[in-house]
């Protein structure tokens, strides 16, 4: 067994009955070798963690982990949470979770926001590296998530049209070729997580990494004025860690036969 149980407040506790003691050096080495072989990893990963910069939503994934480790415990966890900002797994994600062999959340690789395109259209770019997916894993569902806060100030009584695009081709001196994935009308006063289905796009990226040119998000007011994501209340990399945008993909060993996107 994985050996972790949850105390009523949700923190993992050690396996009852098993001895706790300091490992001897050779035991440590043996355990590490055994664990890496069980996880199928060639070496111990060395993530470069710095808050905000390489955020791949560990809290959200921990939520999925708790859901996976025990349905009833996760419910207790949910009821214990009071902050609305925590990206809790939706019912649909829980369904994907039950079916998935692996779930991954990805770091947004775009480090510097280029807010204005050559035609002075506000947009935000996002890129995720899906080239390291293990052989034979197919995307069964993928989501791109943005957190929107309630807007006050000039646009507080307005509504926005938010569009998510897949970048099809980039040009050095003009607008990139874009494919519209979804457009959604939002009230300025709305707050919470926005989820966008990018399953087909993700499968294309897994099968053909060269086509992975990322996503673009653009926002217009009801009068068609292009505004920045920040003005529309969308949280970017400079926001709180648990509200930063991320992508999550659910994988299953490739019984699923995906037609390449046209």
């Amino acid at each position: 067994a994985a050996g972790s149980h949850f105390s009523p407040d949700g923190t993992p506790e050690a396996h009852p009955g098993f001895v706790h003691r300091r490992l001897r050096t050779h035991e440590k080495r043996e355990m590490q070798k055994e664990i890496l072989s069980i996880l199928g990893l060639p070496h111990r990963p060395r993530p470069h963690l710095s808050h905000g910069k390489y955020n791949s939503a560990p809290l959200f994934m921990l939520d999925l982990y708790n859901t996976m480790s025990g349905e009833e415990k996760a419910d207790r966890l949910r009821s214990a949470r009071t902050t609305q900002s925590s990206p809790l797994a939706t019912f649909q994600e829980t369904a994907f979770l039950n079916d998935a062999d692996m779930v991954m959340s990805f770091v947004n690789l775009v480090e510097f926001d280029r807010e204005l395109s050559p035609q002075r259209r506000h947009h935000k770019e996002f890129k995720f590296n899906l080239s390291q997916i293990p052989e034979g894993e197919a995307v069964t569902a993928a989501e791109f998530r943005l957190y929107k806060e309630c807007v006050s100030g000039a646009f507080r009584n307005d509504s926005f049209l938010l569009r998510v695009y897949q970048v099809v081709k980039e040009h050095p001196d003009r607008e990139a070729d874009l494919f519209l994935l979804e457009s959604r009308r939002l009230w300025a006063t709305e707050e919470g997580w926005l989820e966008f289905d990018i399953t087909a796009t993700s499968n294309l990226w897994v099968m053909s990494p060269a086509h992975n040119l990322g996503l673009q998000v653009g926002v217009e007011t009801s009068s068609g004025q292009s505004i920045s994501c920040k003005e529309a209340g969308l949280i970017g990399r400079d926001g709180a860690l648990e509200k930063q945008p991320f992508m999550v993909a659910f994988f299953k060993v490739s019984e699923v036969h995906i037609r390449a996107a046209r």
């Binding site: 067994a1 994985a2 050996g3 972790s4 993992p12 506790e13 050690a14 396996h15 009955g17 098993f18 001895v19 706790h20 003691r21 300091r22 490992l23 035991e27 440590k28 355990m31 590490q32 664990i35 069980i38 996880l39 111990r44 990963p45 060395r46 993530p47 470069h48 963690l49 390489y54 791949s56 939503a57 560990p58 994934m61 921990l62 999925l64 982990y65 708790n66 996976m68 480790s69 998935a100 062999d101 692996m102 779930v103 991954m104 959340s105 990805f106 770091v107 590296n129 390291q132």
Partner: protein, 139 residues
Amino acid sequence: STGGKRRQQNRNRSSQPRGASRGLGPADYNSSDQKTACRRHELYVSFRELGWQDWIIAPEGYAANYCDGECSFPLNAHMNATNHAIVQTLVHLMNPENVPKPCCAPTKLHAISVLYFDDNSNVILKKYKNMVVRACGCH
């Protein structure tokens, strides 16, 4: 350890009256040093203890069993898991106190889920469903 044991037995044999053909009885097995008798131990392995908390997010650790002492059944090239389990079962029946019951191969383990960072700081939640013990013995 078997080498040592064989020397010990030769010495015993030489001191016995010749012609006494007494097999290895339960009392003889491991009796020489109770403390090092082959035993199965339970240990909680904490990933924090291994210094892995920077990349394993959950679980906090896992329960492991391992054998210690004079376990004279190393699994090697000419003894496969099935023979190993049979021999150990026989010796366990003869001397249940000293020799733990075999965990014979292959044994299916519970599925586990692990949440961890990869080298690129992506987070991976993986289910390991078909876990089978590859070694056989008392752990």
